[in-house]
């Protein structure tokens, strides 16, 4: 099943519109049953699928099924983030407080990598390999903006998987990483003069497909 491209903007509309949001809160879109039923009740098109918690078939097949697939998906994103901050530190573009923040965020991401590798093994699976990555490191401003983009995406990615995780332990771990990604995002948004809560009072999830499409330009293998 492919996720409609307009999904994210549809969610944003829901997030921005108090009436729709109440409906969203009350009835959700996280289950196919609810989605179908809602469609059957004659609501409009933006309620179409199960995408919020979506592990689309096409995207999921890349990482495997179930919790292990989600863990390896998250691990791939954390590997990318870790590699990014390592490159940023080496670039020499930052010093002082900004460098300290970047180093701290990078070390958080490394801890996430370690935890997810362990989680994949605990699930009896093989942890995903670190992808080869390459990032544009032209100047401090664009690097910080890219960092903000990456963190906002990372937070949305974790949120997008929360409803699909079966193991309570994996869910608890994912949630505790999710909010740290949110903290990173808010800090970097502050440094780049962007709103700390770009989605408003309710953060919007991203599907695996959306996230993978966004990070694809940085993956070289």
């Amino acid at each position: 099943m492919s996720i409609p491209v307009k999904r994210r903007s549809a969610l944003r509309r829901i997030a921005d519109d108090p009436v729709s949001r109440r409906r969203f809160l009350a009835i959700g879109g996280g289950t196919t049953g609810a989605g179908l039923l809602l469609a059957a009740c004659g609501d409009d098109e933006e309620t179409s699928t199960s995408a919020e918690t979506g592990t689309s078939d096409a995207a999921a097949s890349q990482f495997g099924d179930g919790d292990l697939g989600i863990v390896n998906y998250a691990l791939t994103l954390e590997y990318l983030e870790t590699a990014f901050y390592e490159d940023v530190v080496k670039s020499g573009l930052f010093k002082g407080d900004d460098l300290a923040l970047i180093e701290e965020i990078g070390s958080n991401e490394q801890e996430h990598v370690d935890a997810l590798v362990a989680a994949a093994k605990d699930l009896g699976g093989k942890p995903a390999e670190a992808p080869k990555a390459e990032f544009p490191l032209d100047d401090a401003k664009s690097v910080l903006e890219l960092a903000a983009t990456v963190e906002n995406l990372g937070a949305a990615a974790y949120l997008g998987q929360a409803g699909a995780i079966e193991s309570p332990d994996i869910l608890a771990a994912a949630l505790s990483i999710h909010t740290v990604e949110g903290r990173h995002a808010a800090a970097l948004n502050t440094l780049t003069d962007q709103p700390i809560t770009p989605d408003g009072a309710f953060a919007v999830p991203a599907t695996m497909e959306e996230v993978l499409a966004d990070v694809q330009p940085f993956i070289k293998s």
Binding site: L25, N108, T179, I196, F202, P205
Partner: protein, 213 residues
């Protein structure tokens, strides 16, 4: 349930969607009865079905609502009382306060929609927290960090996946608030690489000093 039944009893359309996960058969029967006898006659039964199916979720949402009331009151009083915030800080306080109020409204509505009764706003007392920007921001950090840990602790117990996603979305926003206030305090935006998880008891113990009733 068919479209025809929905049209016959439109006021039942919303409840039906929520309940479909839990006791589809029961609801189908009730809704069919509603279509025949009118919504009012089955209303109490529908409410009871909800109470049985999702009382756990309602309790969790009411717990979250209490915290959000506390936070909303905290920022609301701060805007009136704290002197000496710079304009960035004032804007931040206003933004965060408005978002906490949105959480209050959304949680109240959701609890009602699920057939529960939203808790009332607690009476609060923040002591001398508003005597300076520093003391205010410090308590703000405590509230936001506690809020993050409260949501992270409660979320895995939520049964309905759609509510879990919503609670997660609120938790992320609390985390963003926490990070932003921490930066204003000259602190790191993070506590650690993993946000702590707190039980309901631990959270209540932490916030109890500020709740007067």
């Amino acid at each position: 349930m068919s479209k025809i039944q929905t049209q016959a009893a439109p006021e039942l359309a919303a409840v039906e969607v929520e309940e479909i996960n839990r006791s589809t058969l029961l609801m189908k029967g009730l809704l069919a009865a509603g279509a025949v006898y009118g919504a009012a006659s089955v209303g109490p039964l529908v409410s009871r079905a909800f109470a049985q199916g999702s009382s756990g979720d309602i309790d969790i949402l009411n717990f979250a609502l209490t915290l959000e009331y506390l936070e909303a009151a905290f920022y609301d009083e701060a805007t009136k009382q704290v002197k000496g915030l710079d304009s960035t800080q004032s804007d931040l306080v206003e933004l965060i306060g408005a978002e906490e109020q949105e959480h209050v409204d959304a949680l109240s509505t959701t609890i009602s929609d699920l057939g529960g009764t939203p808790v009332k706003a607690p009476k609060v007392d923040f002591g001398d927290a508003f005597s300076s920007p520093e003391t205010f921001l410090e308590l703000g950090v405590t509230f936001e960090d506690t809020g993050v840990s409260a949501y992270n602790g409660a979320a895995p117990m939520i049964e309905a996946k759609d509510l879990l996603a919503t609670a997660g979305g609120i938790a992320q926003v609390e985390a963003r608030h926490a990070a932003a206030i921490r930066l204003q305090q000259g602190e790191s935006p993070v506590v650690a690489a993993f946000d702590e998880t707190l039980t309901e008891d631990e959270v209540l113990k932490a916030v109890m000093p500020f709740i007067k009733s």
